[in-house]
């Protein structure tokens, strides 16, 4: 092992970063690399896991009861994301089912000879995945057509059950986007209200009764979650 600090690879650097020891400029440079280098992310993850073991020795101390009340007030008392929720209320009042809200059309691969392709240059992408990768679905949004494409790479619905897609915007309740088709590829056409709020929103997939949640809210296990980001 060399002692020359500059030569001492990224392992030490990732450890310093995980400990929070890097000076500002070096930390910023490290974070820029982190975004681009999976190997560096793996090193950082490894140190984070190892160092977190040190917390095992720490005695748990229950916080005072009012702490949770304050947290709840902060996250649920926050003003609604303008637009979507008020729109939802209007739709509720007019009796439109939430489940069909975002959905103009859904079609599966069986409608096409070749089947639809993922957009070549999507405006937004997301990977909706289970932590153990038992379900992996890629999502890509084509801004030109307003279509949200889903490619199921790993996993499928249990027999007699459906995989339901949800869009979660900010602090709002999940909105159903529809059911993943039995084929590998599903395409949804989003309405204008949902196109505008995709950035930073979260997509999720839950296990639901065949045909989707009867209540319009997720009822089954959350099988995969993924944040939407710029491609």
């Amino acid at each position: 092992m060399s002692d020359a600090p500059d030569h001492n690879d990224d392992r030490a650097l990732a450890g310093e970063y995980a400990l929070g020891l890097l000076p500002d400029a070096e930390r910023d440079a490290f974070e820029a690399r982190l975004a681009a280098e999976p190997k560096l992310r793996a090193l950082y993850r490894l140190w984070s896991e190892d160092f977190a073991r040190l917390a095992e020795d720490i005695t748990p101390i229950t916080p005072p009861a009012e702490v949770f009340e304050k947290i709840e007030a902060r996250i649920h008392g926050a003003p609604d994301t303008p637009g979507l929720l008020s729109m939802l209320r209007v739709w509720f009042l007019s009796g439109v089912a939430v489940a069909g809200l975002a959905l103009v059309l859904v079609f599966g691969t069986d409608m096409f000879q070749r089947g639809p392709q993922m957009p070549a240059s999507p405006a937004y992408v997301a990977e909706i995945a289970a932590q153990d990768r038992s379900l992996v679905v890629q999502a890509a949004y084509d801004a030109q057509s307003g279509h949200l494409h889903f490619q199921r790479e790993v996993g499928e619905a249990h027999s007699g059950r459906s995989l339901e897609l949800w869009l979660i915007v900010g602090e709002n309740a999940p909105v159903s986007l529809g059911i993943l088709s039995g084929g590998g590829h599903t395409v949804l056409a989003l309405d204008d209200a949902h196109r505008a709020v995709l950035e930073g929103a979260v997509l999720a997939i839950t296990d639901e009764p065949e045909g989707g949640s009867p209540s319009g809210a997720p009822t089954g296990a959350v099988l995969g979650v993924g944040a939407i980001s710029n491609s």
């Binding site: 001492n8 030490a12 000076p23 977190a52 917390a55 720490i58 990768r133 999940p174 979650v225 944040a227």
Partner: protein, 185 residues
């Protein structure tokens, strides 16, 4: 104490439900993890009033970022502990106006295939870490644990061990490399 795999799986499921804005799941996650996280925060801050503010900030971040959790490949308790610790260190450093620990880990981009390999390499346990720390000279192991648990900066560590800052950094980097070599064998 959260340890067995079934508990971790539960925590993971709770985080997924929190991403769906499930308030009951958030309450359950808080019930099961807040004492550990409050302990972590108190260790860094050593000030109860500040720690109570910081634990609130940490859970607000957890609520807001739960949707990103599956993308970063962290085990659930590591993710929660890291958020709590970094938030506490930020609060501590804001007072002394030194470098602030970033929330970049919350925004880490997805790795296309963390897969079982990542899970396996994350498997070193507390005992392995302890015995690897024991292989370091005692003061050097102490420097690593102080940096993690108390949030000491290089300046803090240099003052504590009464060595020049550059020496401190050279020490610590060497210690990290030794530690990594020990943990991977």
């Amino acid at each position: 104490m959260i340890g067995p795999m079934s508990d971790l799986k539960d925590i993971e499921n709770l985080i997924a439900r929190v991403a769906l804005r499930d308030r009951a799941a958030f309450g359950e996650l808080y019930t099961r993890t807040s004492a550990k996280l409050f302990g972590v925060v108190l260790r860094v801050l050593d000030n109860r009033a500040e720690a109570e503010d910081v634990i609130q900030d940490a859970y607000v971040k957890i609520w807001r970022n739960a949707g990103r959790y599956t993308q970063n490949g962290f085990s659930p308790m590591t993710w929660l502990i890291t958020i709590a610790r970094n938030t506490a260190i930020d609060a501590r450093r804001r007072k002394t106006r030194t470098d602030v620990q970033s929330d970049a880990m919350l925004e880490q981009v997805a790795d296309s295939a963390p897969g079982p390999e990542a899970a396996a390499i994350a498997a070193s346990d507390r005992a392995a870490l302890g015995s690897c720390l024991d292989e370091l000279q005692q003061v050097r192991a102490e420097a690593v644990t102080r940096a993690y648990l108390e949030g000491d900066s290089y300046a803090d560590l240099a003052a504590h061990f009464d060595v020049p800052l550059n020496t401190m950094r050279t020490w610590l980097r060497r210690s990290l490399l030794k530690l990594r070599e020990c943990l991977t064998r």
